[in-house]
């Protein structure tokens, strides 16, 4: 009986964290947000060199074939550093989606992700939420329609698309008939677009992918929960640090009990949420029957505590927390964006009830 991280997992986490601290400090993120697109291929390549872009990809495709818990630790580190990267779209969602499809054709893409030569964006929002007439359909190997709130598409090489409800398609980013419109969000650390498909010829369309889409969403949700958890950790660290320095009424504000309790309440939410996230990620590989439930609960729960922590940690900083110059807002907004990126808490909890047979499937 051992509920915890292995030595290898701790080392992995440490190495990613120290890499990001050195190579992509928040000042670098500040620069990147001024670019056309915040995603920087150099960071992706460097992550590949660290060996994490192929973390979930099987060895036969050039990856390291590790488990979702390992990948979630990377995700957590990325959230903690607020790094702009297509890790979630490429290394988690595309890697799991294509592996579940399991066709020979997917080899080159998986290999490209593992080596860092290929970046995938995802256009999958309509798998759980359709608005504004969005939805993509396929006919004779071509795609038409639109997908909203797509991730990391701008600078990608390929796009993974959910179409006709239960199919997965791969298209080239530069295929004729694709038009990409940038959607500005509050979160400057992620790339969000609308993707329009007008008779776009696909590289591949895979039928009967309900199961693959489910697994892809589960993995994505758990990894996104880990990302938000990482954001929360950083925000609390910053708040505690600030509370030990800032003085008012001739005392450091951290000696005021109101401030102490704000900090205590935040950390009291984070630690059990970490246990939940660990188990959710573990279940994905070791107890796949439990993963649908654990994925919904981990993301919904961490989204909820994330919203509170984002607000409280900012409040600890007072007026300076409300400025652009102070960095906490990067995490505040990253948490806010994650909250609905793969389904919001209400949607996820309804799904959690459905998978337990407590509600009728919609």
């Amino acid at each position: 009986m051992d509920f915890g991280l292995s030595e290898d997992q701790r080392l992995l986490e440490q190495s990613v964290r120290s890499f990001l601290n050195q190579q992509v400090p928040i000042d670098r993120v500040r620069e990147l947000r001024e670019h056309e697109c915040v995603i920087d291929r150099k960071i992706w390549r460097a992550l590949a060199e660290l060996g994490v872009t192929g973390i979930l990809i099987a060895e036969e495709h050039g990856g390291s074939g590790l488990n979702l818990l390992d990948a979630a630790l990377v995700s957590e580190a990325i959230g903690a550093a607020s790094t702009p990267t297509p890790f979630l779209s490429s290394a988690i969602m595309t890697a799991v989606g294509l592996a579940e499809v399991g066709r020979e054709q997917t080899h080159a893409w998986l290999k490209g992700i593992a080596t860092g030569e290929i970046m995938f964006g995802t256009a999958i929002t309509e798998a759980f939420s359709k608005r504004e007439g969005a939805g993509v359909s396929s006919a004779n190997g071509t795609l038409s329609g639109k997908s909203m709130m797509a991730s990391d598409v701008c600078t990608a090489d390929f796009i993974l698309v959910v179409c006709d409800g239960d199919k997965l398609a791969v298209v080239r980013r530069d295929a004729p008939g694709i038009s990409v419109t940038k959607l500005v969000t509050i979160d400057k650390t992620r790339c969000t677009t609308e993707v329009q498909f007008d008779n776009v010829t696909c590289e591949a369309v895979f039928d009967g992918c309900s199961q693959a889409i489910d697994r892809m969403l589960q993995a994505g949700r758990i990894a996104l929960a880990a990302d938000t958890l990482g954001c929360c950790e950083t925000m609390v660290e910053m708040a505690v640090e600030y509370a030990k320095e800032r003085k008012q009424f001739n005392r450091v504000i951290g000696s005021f009990q109101a401030v102490k309790h704000m900090c205590a309440e935040m950390i009291a939410e984070i630690e059990p949420a970490r246990s939940l996230m660990w188990y959710a990620a573990h279940s994905f590989d070791a107890a796949p029957d439990e993963a649908p439930l654990m994925a919904c609960h981990s993301l919904a729960h961490i989204a909820e505590i994330g919203r509170d922590i984002a607000s409280i940690a900012t409040q600890v900083h007072g007026g300076t927390g409300w400025t652009d110059e102070q960095n906490v807002h990067f995490w505040f907004k990253r948490i806010a964006n994650a909250r609905h990126l793969l389904g919001g808490p209400e949607l996820l909890r309804n799904r959690a009830a459905e998978v337990q047979g407590l509600a009728e499937a919609s």
């Binding site: 009986m1 051992d2 205590a264 949420a273 939940l276 070791a286 609960h297």
Partner: protein, 398 residues
């Protein structure tokens, strides 16, 4: 991550399960009630002989004498919980006094008290709090003056659970009036029938349903032998802190069991012909609580792993009491809302659901939020010890 227990433990689990199955129907309720005393003693002795209670207490002190093995303890707890049977007895003697004696008691104290306490022959109460000393326990004033081989105790304790039904008390008293606040306290044990002790029951907000009774205990020239001090005289504060640690560990309520009960209620309870589970609003609240219960369940496994590896869980351990107690309170709050206007029914009245479990659970969870270190005190500890925030500056003396 490796959540397997392995063959040896699986076998052990099967043995425990078989034992619980065999005896669960005929077990008495383990309570302080003197009328049940004989049956309770028999039932606890049966468990000790089988090795499922007092398991790691040495034979010479009346225990089963097995080597300490945390996983065995967890398995026993899980199996008894699963069948809805209390393992041993939830009382302050076994959970607080016995660990303290094992750590700090003299050979004689151990031989005299541990066996009878674990067998339910001697019941204990905890005399710590005083009217002026709750959260600030170290400011306690009950005084013990030395008189030859005895101490003479004068003062008052309050909120003493089950004092009216107890044979013995373990108490904190001030033996060194001139010493600093924390260093003048001794930990002492005394029989409740000693002349000069007066117990006055204090009705609780539960209307005295359930197990807990509240009391005030008055001491007037109560004579107790000096040999009844546990550990070093004047060292009672440190010793009490080891006991409080045991109390906080024993407050690790079984949230999953409560959640199952709540889900059952929600399936069965109907309003306007529709079950509560079919209501998206109630279901959403249930799912929120389920996520929290799952967090605390796996957090418990993480804490267990730390203990097995003898690693300190650090701040992750400090947050357990405050989170578990609040979770239990919130689960009963949902159950009460599900029952709507009938949720307030109490004391075995007509139409009451689940034999009144939920209102009692709600009131007791609230008690646990306050007792054994309030939620606010827990947060002070988390912030100061866990996060390293500075202590409150002392107010300027005028």
């Amino acid at each position: 991550m490796d959540l397997e227990y392995g063959q040896r433990y699986n076998d052990f689990r099967a043995q425990v399960r078989a034992f619980v199955e065999k005896h669960k129907a005929s077990r008495p309720i383990t309570s302080y009630d003197p009328k049940l005393r004989e049956k309770v003693v028999k039932w606890l002795s049966l468990q000790i002989d089988a090795g499922y209670w007092a398991r790691t207490i040495p034979k010479e002190y009346g225990g089963f004498g097995a080597e300490p093995d945390l996983l065995e303890t967890v398995i026993m707890d899980e199996e008894f919980n699963r069948a809805g049977v209390t393992r041993g007895m939830m009382a302050q003697g076994p959970s607080m006094l016995v660990p303290t004696l094992l750590e700090h008691g003299t050979e004689e104290q151990k031989r005299q008290w541990i066996g009878p306490t674990m067998r339910g022959k001697v019941m204990w109460c905890q005399g710590y709090s005083e009217p002026g000393a709750g959260s600030d326990l170290a400011s306690l004033q009950t005084a013990a003056h030395q008189d030859g081989d005895d101490f003479i105790i004068n003062g008052q304790k309050i909120w003493t659970s089950s004092a009216d039904k107890s044979d013995m008390m373990f108490a904190l008293v001030r033996t060194e009036p001139d010493a600093a606040k924390h260093s003048g306290i001794s930990y002492i044990i005394l029989p409740m029938n000693t002349p000069g002790i007066e117990v006055q029951p204090l009705q609780t907000m539960s209307g005295d349903l359930g197990e807990n009774s509240f009391n005030q205990v008055f001491f007037t020239d109560v004579r107790v032998p000096r040999t009844n001090v546990v550990g070093q005289r004047g060292n009672g504060w440190a010793i009490a802190n080891t006991t409080l640690k045991h109390e906080r560990n024993s407050l690790n309520a079984n949230a999953e069991g409560t959640l199952f009960r709540l889900m059952k209620l929600m399936r069965e309870e109907t309003m306007n012909g529709v079950s509560a589970m079919a209501s998206p609003v109630f279901r959403d609240r249930l799912m929120r609580l389920q996520a929290r219960a799952l967090s605390m369940k796996h957090h418990g496994m993480r804490m267990l792993t730390c203990s097995l590896k003898k690693e300190s869980p650090g701040i992750a351990g400090l947050i357990v009491k405050v989170q578990n107690c609040q979770l239990n309170f919130d689960m009963s709050a949902l159950a009460i809302d599900v029952m709507g206007e009938l949720g307030v029914l109490y004391d075995h009245t007509k139409y009451e659901r689940d034999r009144g479990y939920w209102q009692i659970h709600s009131i007791f969870s609230l008690g646990l939020i306050i007792g054994g270190g309030t939620a606010q005190i827990q947060k002070n500890i988390i912030a100061e010890r866990g996060l390293g925030l500075p202590r409150e500056p002392k107010p300027a003396t005028t």
